[in-house]
Amino acid sequence: MGSVLEVEDLGKHYARGQSALQDVTFAVEAGEILTVLGPSGCGKTTLLRLIAGFEVPDCGVIRFGGRVVAQRGSVLPAEERGIGMVFQDFALFPHLSVAQNIGFGLRPSAPKRVDELLELIGLLPERDRFIHQISGGQQQRVALARALAPAPALVLLDEPFSNLDLSERLRLREEVKNILKQTATAAIFVTHDCSEALSLGDRVAVIDHGQIQQWDTPEQVYRAPRNRFVAQFIGRANFLEARRTATGWQTELGDLDLDYRGPLAQLDLAVYPESVRLVCDECGPVEVRDRSFLGRDYHYKLRFPSGRVWQAQIPQNETFSIGQRVRIVLPKEQFVVLGSH
């Protein structure tokens, strides 16, 4: 399968020298869901607006369905691109009914297609209601159906669940994924929620400061984060530096044996809080500083002699008290070597 969308060296600058996006390169395959993950203000919405055709790039090229739709200073207008979009505020037309909203992009109007989509999102009984008469989750489904109605090859979703409450969000996450897969529509899904990004995406692009930090499958992004930002954002990772010695690796946790075969003499290691295991040890180097109960787990803050602080998430059947001295036990495969490939 070929790429539906190719983005090459895309850049967008705003006034006062702020750079919204820089050197952004990625592609979306037909039927693939790409989630774009990053903190607010990292440039993810700008990226979507460039692809949709609401902004003009300062450099780079966007190719959609094999043809150039945007490059420096000139663009194909949004209405001629055929890319669907779901807005953060849904942007449903308040003067139109549910069915009229869904049929808005269909010319000539095709009631059959509208009913098909209403069926798909399970809102057939609501077809003649107005937007303010249906719930937030229903509005979200209508917005998706409206974007899907002209059967675009690609839909863009801009933080579509940010206006919904948690349970609704979890339910819709599954539903949206199913609908996109069922209709074989490629999608770019922007979010700042990393569990959303990991569970929805076939691939994930992590963005910070206008640049793509990593573009990979969710598993790879989790297992092999490229840098500290990705590891921190994806899994609130703890960090540790390691220096090569004759026999192994020297760290603040003692000498370690790592599965690293590369040439570097200094390594940046990441450890996810849920990988950390603790053992009681009166003379252990690490002190338990803080504890909060999360239900299944306890969440601890650990303080190293150097002042470094780690987070640990330990099942609730092993309990440690604040002020207790402990030792950290970690099998070598739990150390993630950052930027090793």
Partner: protein, 542 residues
Amino acid sequence: MRNIVEARPIPRTAPLPLRLAAGGVAALLGLPLVYLLVRSLEADQATWSSLFATQLAPLLITTFSLAVTVTTLAVALGVGLAFLVERTDLPGRGLWRVLCAMPLVIPPYVGAFCYLTLLGPQGLLEQWLATQLGVAAIPQVRLIGFPAAVLVLVLFTYPFVYLLVGAQLRGTDRSLIEAARACGQGAWQTFWRVTLPLMRPAIGAGGLLVGLYALADFGVVSLLRVETFTAAIYTQLTTRYDRSGAAVLSAVLILIAFMVLWAEQRLQGRRVAQLRSAWRPSLPVPLGVWRLPALGAVVGVLGLSLFLPMGLLIAWTIESLTDESAMAAVWTASYNNIWSGLFNSLGVAMAAATIAAIAALPVALWSVRYPGVGANFAYRISQLGYALPGLVVALSLVFLGNRYLGWLYGTVAMVVIACIVRFLPEALQGLRSALAQISPSLEEASRSLGHRPFSTWCRVVFPLLWPSLLAAWSLVFLSSLRELPATLLLRPAGFDTLSVRIWIPASESIYSHAAPAALLLVLTSLVPLSFLFVRARAGEGR
């Protein structure tokens, strides 16, 4: 293989047709004013110095003191009524809430006319004194002059303040009051330190409306014989035929109006924004022993500003139906009867409202969707009419029409144009805020679904804007319907509107000839006013 870019640049500025349309509207609205100022500068030295020496000081004193007194009293009355109705346990406040806004249906010059029929020359009081006691008229007790004008203007303009402050009070969250009480403030301290400061924007906006009205008023001061600027300009024009003198006086009046606007901008600078997440209405303040006196005050004000004037209008209308000469002059005259007046009024108001609503649209679009220096300038120019007395607008059109638009001068079109220049800003305000509320993402959604800008406009923006367009139309219609001074100056011979049919017999003290037109005007005003009122309430409830 790379395709050639099938692309065109996105326009960063407004499309040219929009800029041309909006610029054209602004130019047409600004032109008469500029020309008036030019004419006043052309006036010879002698005109300026004689006016400055003889008339200016008394005119300034009278006009200023009228505006200041009326604004102060109207603000006090409006705030007091709004507080009683919205925040206390006044008996029957649901009814009073609606009735206190009702004096708005009576144009102030109609109010002045009503009081004249009671206390003016040959009014009911004088008739009664003459027939019952055989006492001749005592000119000293007639209700004319400065205090009379203040009374009438306050009674019929306080609803501006009342409506705005009332909306502000209803919108204030109870928790703000409770927070003040929790900080140890008593009821009075809470009023002075929280409630009143929160009302300040509404008081400022309402006070500005009243103040500008008092400066611009022509009908009340001319009927009650107070020499203010507008009255002097009218005299200058119609009895002395001195156009240069009128232009000079108008220039000074324009200057005063701009000073008021400028002062208001300085005072209003800070806007109070309220966070309303979980809003709850305020609990009423118990009045205790003051409940009955407060009720008496509300009923008293309404008696003077609503019940008495309406009663008088109805009584005099019945009188006109029983009196043979009045019957003939008002109702059955084959030429220029009351129905042709109504027809003319409706025609002028409809034409002005339609053109103003359409013409305001490009200016609103430009200034909201493509803000910038040009858009802002066009917007400010189009707003000028807001601060200009109708008489001044009419005068500038007299000059312009006389010299350059001979074919238009003396036609109904001039009256319509005056109404547009004067009242288009009212339409512009509403359209601007409506456009600002239509989220740009709606337009983007339509574009992403394959609709071009024009199709997007027709299918998304226009349907959403339609109710506001209708409201803007109603507002201009209502104002044009009541317009008096411009109509008097610009109408073709024999073209009577309802306002003219009130003013002419009223100024000659033939009350039974004026009352039916006044009643008809009030009743006609009720339709657009109730539409606007219902719309405002619905908007608040959202």
